[in-house]
Symmetry: D2
Subunit: 335 residues, 4 copies
C-alpha cells in the first residue's frame, strides 16, 4: 500500500484525490493546499485524511511514500524538488516545468535519490493511445507518413501560460510515446489576439527526420471544439477523435501505392487502396485510474514510467524551441 | 445571346458544356479537344454544335464571343493568350497559369483588348461563400481574427502539379474575396511522401498584417476527407463544412471579450460569450451556373468579374511565394 | 433551509445526495439504505449526516422536512405512503409506481396531508426541454403535427421492468409537459427477444386527438445509441438530440404550406419553406440541481410541482394502457 | 445486344435512358412519352434513337426486345400488360401496381409469355444491401432479432400516392430480399396532416413470425432527413445509413448474451458483448447500372430476377394490407 499526499486542490487535484482514494493499492494520507478554505472544502469529504497548508509538514511524515503535485506550473519545480529531496516519489502535472534547465535538474535529482518522477501526460493512459501504440509497434500502420493534430476550442484561457504550453504537451507526449524520439527541428507560427504576448493561436511544425512531419494546430479562439489526431501510415492510417464517444479511434485500411512503371519508363504508377474502416473496441477504464496504477507499479517494481521525467524533459525542450521560433518570426530551430 | 466555345473536354470541360448548353443567355457554338475520340463522344450529345481539334478554327469564327478553357495548366497561358489576341472573352480553369510573369501578361493583354478574363475560382460562386462574404462585409463577424482551412483527402494525384497548386487556389480565392487584399508574407511546410519532388502534404501560413493569420492544411494522404474552413471573428465566427450537405455553413455567436480591469490594475478580464449557432438557409443553385451567368453579365455590362485576372494574378503570386518558401526550408517569403 | 433524507443509495441515490449536499437551500440530514455496507460507503463521505437502515427512524425525526426515494419501483408506493403519512414532503424516482390505483392513492394522500409529491421526471428540468416548452407555448412552433422519439441503445436491462416502463416515462413526461393533456388512446407493439415476458423492444403509439400522434421507439437491443426527440410543427420543428453535446436542440424554420387553388379548383397547392436552422444557446446547469431547487420552491411557496403526482398518475395510466395493448396483440386501448 | 425502349421521360426515365445508352450490352432503340416536348428535349441528346408518343409503335417493332416503364403508377398495369402481350421483356418502376389483382395478373402473364418482368426495387442493387445480404446469409449476423427503418424527410409530396406507397416499397423490398418471406400480419398507424386522405406520416409494423418484427417510420413532414435501416442480430447488428457517404454500412460486433443460471435456478444471466465496429469497403458502381446488367443477365440466361414480379406482388400485398389496417383504425391485418 503506497501512501500518497495530494498537493494543490484546484481544478485537477480533486480528480487525483478521488483516484488515490478509490485505488486499493494506495492510501490517501494527506491533502495540501495553501488556501485553508479549499483545504476544508475537499477535506470534509475525506474525514480520515490529514490536512496541511504547508508542504513541509507532508514531507516530514516519514510514512508518506509519494506526493502528487497539481499546482500552477510556476511552482512545479520548487515543490517537486523539495519532495524528491525528502525522498518522496513524485507525480507532477504537465508541463513539468517551464524551463529546460529546471526540468533537467529534476530528472537528475530523481535519478540520484532513486525515486519515481512521473509527469501526468494523461493521454498516454487512455485506451485510445494505448491501441494506437499497439498498431504502430506491431507494424499494422506500416511506415509513418505524417502526424496532424487539431486541438481547438473556445478558451479556457490560462493566465500564466500560452495555448502552446497548455495544449501542445498532450500531442507531443502522444507522438513521443508512439515513435520514441525527439524532433530534429521545430517551427512555430502564432498570434496573440486576446492578451498581448500570450499566444492563443499556434501552429507547431516538427520535423522528425526521414520526411516524417508532425503538425499541431492549437487554438483557444475557435468557436467549435475539435480533437482530431491523425496518424498517416503507408499501410493503415488512424484517426483519433476524442469527442466521438462511440468511435474514438478509427483505423482506415487505406493508402496510396506507388510502383515504378514495369516498362522501365520514368513514370510512377499510383494506385489507391480503399479498404474497411474499423473502430476497435476500447476498454472503458478511466485514464487517471490507469495512471495511478502505473505510478504504483513503477514505485513497487522500481521501473521507469512511460511518462517519466525524461519524457517530460524532451517535451519541455520542444516547447522551449517552439517558443524561440515564435519569438524569432517563425524561424526553424534545431534541437 | 453570348456565343461560346469550350476548349478541353476532359474532367471538367463537360460541366462547362452542360451549363453553356442550359443557360438561356449563352449559345454553345463550338466544342474543341485535341483528341478526336473525346470530341466525338461529347459532340454526339450536342449534334448542332460545331467541332474542331484546333483552337485556331474557333478563333477564326467572327461570330464566336467567348471561349472557356479547361485544359491542363501548362497550356493555359498559350491558349488564353491566343484567344484574347483574337478578341474573345476568356474563362480559364484555376490556376490561371503556373507563372507570375505569364499571368501578368494575360491580365495586361485582357485590359488592352478590352475583353473579360475570368478565372474559374468556382468556390466564389457557391451560396456558402456568398453568405460568408455578406456576413463579413456587413460587420456581423466583427474583426477577423484568423482563417484556418483543412482540405484533406486521399488522392486524386495530379501528375503535373503538387497538392499546393491543386488545392490552395480554392482557399486563397475565398480569402481574397472575403478581405480583398494580398498577404504580406508567406511560409510553407511540406513533404513529398509519394512522388519525389511533388508535395502531397503542405501547410501554408499567410500573414495578412495586423495580426490576421490564415493557415491552410492541404493533404492528399489523409484517409479521411475533411473540408473545414473556419473564419474566426471578434463578434461571430463561421464554420464552412462543404461535406455537411444539410448545414454547410454555421455561424457561431460566440467569442472572447477582453476588458481592462476597472480598478485600473494591469490584469485583463476575459469573458466568453456563448450564444446561438445558426445554419442559415442557402440557395441551391449550382455554382457553375452562377459563374456562367456572372461571365455573361461581365461581358454584357463590361464590368470586372469577381474572379478576374487580377485575382488570379494575386493568387499565383502567393502560390509562387509558397513554392519558394518550400524550396528554402520553409523560410518566410515577403510579397 | 429544508431538511432532507435520501432513501436508497444505489445507482441514482448518490446523485440526489450530492445535490442536496450542494444546494444552499437544503440540509442533507439523513441517509438511508437497507444495506449497511452501502450506507457506510456513502455515509463516510458525509460524516455529519445521520444514517439508518430503517425509514421509520427518519420519519420519526420531527425536524426532517422531506425524503427523496430512489429505491426499486416495487417499493415506491409503500415508502412514499409511509412518508406522506408522516407528513414529509416526498420526491420519488420515476415511475412513481407500477399501478394506477396505488398512484392515485398517493396523489390523493399528498393532497390530504398537504405535502408536495414530486416525481423525478428529470428531463423536465433539462435546459433543452425548458427551451422546447417555451417555443411551443409562445407559438413559435405553430400547431403541433406529430411527436416522434427514438430512445434506443444496448441494455442496461432491468430485471424487474420492461423497456416500456423503464424508458417510456421520459418521453411521456416531456410530451405531457409540452401539451398538458392525456392521450385519447394508446397502442403498443413489442417483442421479448432476451427474457421471456419482459419486452426489450417496444413501439408505443399515442393519439392525442385532432390528428396529433406521438410515437416512441424504445429498444434495449440496438447496437447503436440514439436519443432523437422530434416535435413537428406547422411553423417550426424541433429536434432534441441528447447525445449531441454541442447542439442538443435544433429549431428548423421549415415546413409545408398548403393553400387551396385560387382558381377554385379542388387541387391543393403544396409548397415548402426551407429556412434557417438554429441551435439555441442552452444553460449549463445540472438538471438535478434545478429539480432540487424546484422541489424547495414548491415546499416553501406551497405550489404544485411541474412533475407532481398528477403528472405521475397520468403517465402510469398510459403505461398501464400500453401494457394492456401489448397483452392483447396490440389492440388500441382507450383511456 | 438487347434492344430497349424507355417509356416515360419524367423524373426517373432519363436515368434509365442514360444507363441503357451507356451499357455495352444494351442498345437504346426507342424513346416514348405522351408529351411531344418532353420527347423532343430528351430525344435531341440521342439523335440516332427513334421516338414516339405512342407505346403501340414500339411494341410493333419486332426487333425491340424490352421496354422500361417509368410512368405514373396508375398506368403501370395497362402499359406493362400491353408490352408483355407483345412479348417484350419488361422493367417497371416501383410499385408495380396499386392493386394485388392487377399485379397477380401481370406475374401470371409474364410466366405465360416467358418474358422477364423486373420491378425497379433499386435498393437491392446497391452495394450496401448486397453486403447486408451477404452478412445475413453467411450467418455472421446470427439470428435476426428485429428490423427498424427510419425514412423521413420534408416532402416531396406525390399527388397520387401516400407516403406509404411511395417510401415503404424500398424497405419492404430490402427485408424481402434479406429474409425471403412474407410477413404474417401487418399493422399501420398514420396521419394526414397536409392533404386530407393522403397519409404523410405512417408507422408500419410487420410480424414475420418467430418473434421477428420489422417497423418502418415513413414521414414527409420531418424537418430533418434520416435514412437509418437497422438490422439487429443475435451475433452482429447492422446499421445502414444511406446519408453517410463515407461509412454507409456499419457492422457492430455487439450483442446480448443470455444464459441460464448454472445453478439451475430460474434467474437468467444477461451479459453484453461490446466488440469492434466495422465499416466495410463498398463497391462504387451505380446501382441503376447494376440493375440494367442484371436485367440483361435475366433475359439472356432466362433466369428469374432478384426483384421479379413475384417480389413485386408480395410487396403490393403488404402495402394493400397496410392500407386496410389504416382504414380500420390500425387493426392487425393477416396476410
Amino acid at each position: 500500500m503506497i501512501s500518497v499526499g495530494v498537493v494543490g486542490l484546484g481544478y485537477w487535484g480533486p480528480n487525483l484525490v478521488r483516484n488515490f482514494h478509490t485505488s486499493a493499492r494506495t492510501e490517501l494520507a494527506w491533502l495540501c493546499d495553501h488556501d485553508p478554505e479549499r483545504l476544508e472544502a475537499i477535506g470534509r469529504q475525506h474525514p480520515g485524511v490529514r490536512r496541511s497548508t504547508n508542504l513541509e509538514e507532508l514531507l516530514g511524515d516519514a510514512r508518506l511514500d509519494a506526493v502528487a503535485i497539481a499546482t500552477p506550473v510556476a511552482s512545479h519545480h520548487r515543490l517537486a524538488k523539495a519532495a524528491l529531496l525528502a525522498r518522496k516519489h513524485v507525480l507532477v502535472e504537465k508541463p513539468l516545468t517551464a524551463s529546460v534547465a529546471e526540468e533537467a535538474e529534476l530528472v537528475a535529482l530523481a535519478e540520484t535519490v532513486e525515486r519515481v518522477l512521473l509527469v501526468d501526460h494523461i493521454f498516454l493512459y487512455t485506451p485510445s493511445v494505448g491501441k494506437m501504440a499497439e498498431l504502430v509497434s506491431t507494424g499494422e500502420v506500416g511506415d509513418l507518413l505524417f502526424f496532424d493534430s487539431v486541438r481547438i476550442n473556445l478558451g479556457v484561457f490560462q493566465h500564466d501560460v500560452s495555448v502552446l504550453w497548455d495544449l501542445a504537451p498532450h500531442d507531443l507526449s502522444i507522438i513521443d510515446y508512439l515513435i520514441g524520439r525527439e524532433p530534429e527541428s521545430v517551427m512555430a507560427v502564432g498570434a496573440s489576439r486576446t492578451v498581448d504576448g500570450l499566444e492563443d493561436v499556434v501552429y507547431l511544425h516538427l520535423d522528425y527526420g526521414n520526411g516524417l512531419l508532425a503538425s499541431l494546430h492549437l487554438n483557444w479562439l475557435s468557436p467549435v471544439k475539435v480533437r482530431h489526431f491523425l496518424a498517416g501510415g503507408s499501410y493503415r492510417s488512424i484517426l483519433y477523435n476524442d469527442l466521438d464517444a462511440s468511435e474514438r479511434l478509427k483505423v482506415y485500411d487505406r493508402g496510396v501505392d506507388v510502383s515504378t512503371d514495369p516498362a522501365g519508363l520514368r513514370d510512377v504508377l499510383i494506385s489507391y487502396r480503399m479498404g474497411d474502416v474499423i473502430a476497435p473496441r476500447l476498454d472503458a477504464t478511466e485514464p487517471l485510474f490507469r495512471l495511478v496504477e502505473h505510478f504504483v507499479d513503477c514505485i513497487e517494481r522500481q521501473t521507469a514510467p512511460i511518462s517519466g521525467g525524461e519524457q517530460g524533459l524532451r517535451i519541455v525542450r520542444v516547447l522551449a524551441a517552439a517558443q524561440k521560433s515564435l519569438s524569432r518570426g517563425s524561424e526553424r530551430v534545431r534541437l
